[in-house]
Symmetry: C2
């Protein structure tokens, strides 16, 4: 913990603050010569980051490196991977846990950094491999001897967003006759609509909850069990569980199989554990899931490099710190030019905002600096016809991160006016990058573009299980590195507790088992909302 220093105490910060008084002007003539575009690139695992369109120069880059060094970010990252207790707040009650999502993909080396966690991951993978083989061979089938065609994942938050985003991203790679669906919301209409679209007799339901007590997931599991029973099916033959060892869901009498998750992997970092593995393995096959892990593991290794020029996650982390803490922008838009990535921004929104939307440093005091930004985004080119107006001409500046691929997944394309749709897609992404950076002067003020909207482009050949794994780990590592730099605990989520407590009180009142004061805000709000209170 010796290297846990408050962000405000980092001396390099003062130099960066001075440099931020006059950031590189992207809107000046010749601001983006070929040499700059060629120089401001970095690569890892098949991805190239083009960042000439950020508001910085070599001096800023060198100083960001110095900041990373002063904060000892890479040592902290390695300590995380080795299993040090990174989920803690010094001097106060806190979770006091290891943070080892990287261990569940450190399976390709003979000397994993956290051997125990990696051994547990391998054990679960072996179980998954056998389970999937039994499905393939027909050893596991439904009551009529038919194969299962759909896996319905029931989970919420980390047990939903990541697996769902990656399922959509890789749908092209579905095995014949296999698909997945998802239920998350406690809104009963979510389950009702999804259940109505399924042939339950050929559906496996994968219930994911570490504690086994998540309100939404428990309730939706009950809804699903009731629907199975109503359809004359035996729930115990259709449900599998992904849960903590020994949780109330770890029960062979009630589930066809149980896969384990561990308290050293937080929900929002759990896609590469069994939380994502069971459904993604079912849909895409075991080997595709291993490819995903390989991509993630390769990116985890890249993240150990000390130089920002050789370490894509670190570079992206430091570009974010520059935009957030020195240029003062409080949001980030993630804009994938890939319809398959349509839910990836929602996953990142969770992963980033739940990790770094924090107010207390790891040393236990209120922060005096800005922490995590608001992360949002939708796929391009759709967004161009939606909110890009504000990006170009609004009174707020939004740093943007484009993600694109040179090749489509399906290869079903058409040439119109001399270019394919895929070329149009990439051309639009690059054009937006230039337009946001350079702007354009014009006599009519309403047609003027001020430029100087910082952005970068991340591009790879194609979205595959491997590149998806690398992209996921790139962002996971970027988020963790930024958390280290801000000296916050990116691995707890105390901010969700108060809402839970108040919801329990309101539900108690509705059920007639909780007395609310006659003059309480709670009772008044329930009444104003027209909700009945029990007894």
């Amino acid at each position: 913990m010796k290297n846990w220093k408050d962000f405000a105490a980092l001396k390099t910060g003062q130099r960066l603050a001075a440099l931020a008084q006059k950031p590189y002007n992207l809107a000046q003539p010749e601001s983006l010569p070929p040499e700059r575009i060629a120089a401001y690139q970095a690569s890892a695992c098949g991805f190239d980051l083009l960042y000439a369109t950020q508001r910085l120069d070599d001096e800023v880059l060198a100083t960001l490196q110095a900041l990373a060094d002063e904060a000892d970010l890479i040592e902290q990252y390695k300590a995380m991977k080795r299993g040090e207790i990174m989920n803690r707040i010094i001097g106060h009650a806190s979770e006091e846990r290891q943070v080892l999502h990287t261990a569940c993909r450190d399976i390709f080396s003979d000397t994993p950094l956290a051997p125990d966690a990696t051994a547990q991951a391998k054990e679960q993978l072996a179980k998954l491999k056998e389970f999937l083989a039994d499905l393939d061979s027909g050893k596991l089938c439904n009551e009529n001897g038919e194969s299962f065609t759909t896996m319905l994942q029931v989970g919420i938050g980390g047990s939903d967003l990541g697996p769902r985003a990656l399922y959509f991203a890789l749908e092209k790679y579905r095995q014949p006759g296999r698909s997945a669906k998802f239920i998350a919301n406690v809104d009963p209409d979510d389950a009702a609509a999804v259940l109505a679209s399924l042939d339950l007799s050929r559906t496996l339901i994968n219930v994911v909850s570490k504690s086994g007590t998540t309100l939404e997931t428990r309730t939706n599991e009950e809804l699903v069990r009731a629907a199975l029973t109503e359809a004359g099916l035996n729930p115990a033959k259709h449900l599998v569980a992904v849960t903590g060892s020994g949780s109330i869901m770890d029960d062979p009498a009630r589930y066809l199989a149980a896969f384990h998750m561990y308290d050293y992997i937080g929900g929002r970092y759990s896609v590469t554990s069994m939380v994502g593995g069971v459904t993604l393995g079912f849909a895409f096959g075991y080997d595709a899931f291993i490819e995903l892990l390989r991509g993630a593991n390769d990116m985890d290794r890249a993240a150990e490099q000390p130089s920002i020029h050789a370490n894509l996650p670190l570079l992206m982390a430091m570009l974010g710190i520059w935009n957030r803490n020195f240029l003062g922008y409080n949001t980030v838009a993630v804009l994938p030019y890939s319809q398959a990535l349509l839910r990836f921004p929602a996953h990142l929104q969770q992963c980033d905002m739940e990790s770094n939307g924090k107010q207390v440093s790891r040393l236990g005091s209120l922060v005096t600096w800005k922490t995590g930004p608001i992360v949002w985004g939708e796929p391009g080119t759709n967004g161009q016809h939606a909110f890009y107006q504000l990006l170009h001409q609004g009174t707020e500046i939004v740093p943007t991160e484009f993600i694109g691929f040179r090749c489509s997944q399906y290869g079903r394309d058409i040439t119109v006016k001399g270019t394919t749709s895929q070329q149009k897609l990439v051309a639009n992404m690059l054009a937006q990058s230039l337009a946001l950076a350079q702007g354009r002067d014009q006599e009519n003020p309403n047609k003027r573009f001020a430029g100087n909207r910082p952005n970068s482009v991340l591009i790879a050949e194609q979205l595959t299980p491997y590149t998806m794994g690398a992209l996921l780990a790139l962002y996971e590592n970027r988020i963790a590195l930024q958390g280290f730099c801000w000296n916050i605990n990116s691995f707890d989520q105390e901010g969700v507790q108060l809402g839970k407590i108040l919801a329990d009180r309101l539900l108690g009142a509705m059920a007639g088992v909780q007395e609310l004061g006659k003059q309480s805000s709670e009772l008044a709000l329930l009444q104003a909302a027209g909700m009945e209170v029990g007894k």
Copy 2:
């Protein structure tokens, strides 16, 4: 135009700025007594807005009313509905158009405010009614005499987001054997994935483009036509068009039917025109679409009331102005506690950010005040397990707008621990409202909640075609009223032009018909991205 005054010139603004120095403290003890909760409510068209959890008091409310009066917002709104040229910038070339989306639902009165536009809307509705009747009777069917089961809408931006959001919102009300799908993105994988899931022989394709020249839509139409031809089907028997009268798509030889849209309705305000009408009418029936229009029209009438207490759109507009311009918050989260509304935030993101993400006043000068915020959001309770951490404990304050319903749509529910899922859903929403507002003190700084996160709750009985129409118009009107107050043109989108121009240049280079300078940023960026340049 006499009442077009710059926001900075409104005298009431100074009083509000002074009041904003000490906004109502929601985190103090007894900040939310029952009297406040009861008093800070307003209603329209079945919706109740509970806004005691905003940081204001009676004096602020009265001053916001004075600001609305000084800016003459209601007169401007009525002028818009009567057909004055509201889409313009004085002294500069601009679109110079009427803004009459309200006219296409002003069909229930004998004396519509803009009779010509309403007559055109009625003409299109009559055409739609006949078209849908022909589908119902079997007069219109496929080559094998089978009914059409799916409508595939091909459009982007305003021709996609609104219709798609409303389709998901009302899926419960689908007619038997009818459903809709959507393609928007120029990404060829979008079309490939959707086409692979369809029985084309029983699919109608609804191509929506006002100009008939939108790049994405043209390209996707070609992809669809090729797929139909490949399947041995005649495109002219499967495609319908929604387009401007006289556009190249207005061609009976190539489309089964054509419905018209008019240049006085902007894309992002076009859901209640044929842009939404054809697909929503196909899926839910003509009567349901009329119910949607009725809800919208009722809300349009409510928006004419001069008092913020009697005018929900105006009240929400002024609460937004308070948070944006006086308390200084630059984002808004829209959080529907309804899974059916999962894409409604994306629609609002477009409608709001493209309308009000502006830098030039209607008098032609750069604004010196903040205009439209960044709008984002995801359904609750999902969001609670994702980004709410930042909402409660981050270093940014995000005003939040909750939307909920007392009853579910399907009514398939389950009681667990004495409450239904629907009760859990609403209880969680109300609990979040209280938690964000009041916060909680605690010795452990990491478990402390500062509160004073402004929010409001919008609640109605159930999400139906009528309430969906009202909700849509509530936000459309809120956005327009805010635009009037900021004295910006909420109805153009010049900010999307530069990206288009640059994309055309890059595409020309890829196709080998555009020379880019050897030292140009464009060529350098294409090369850095690994994209081939023609010839």
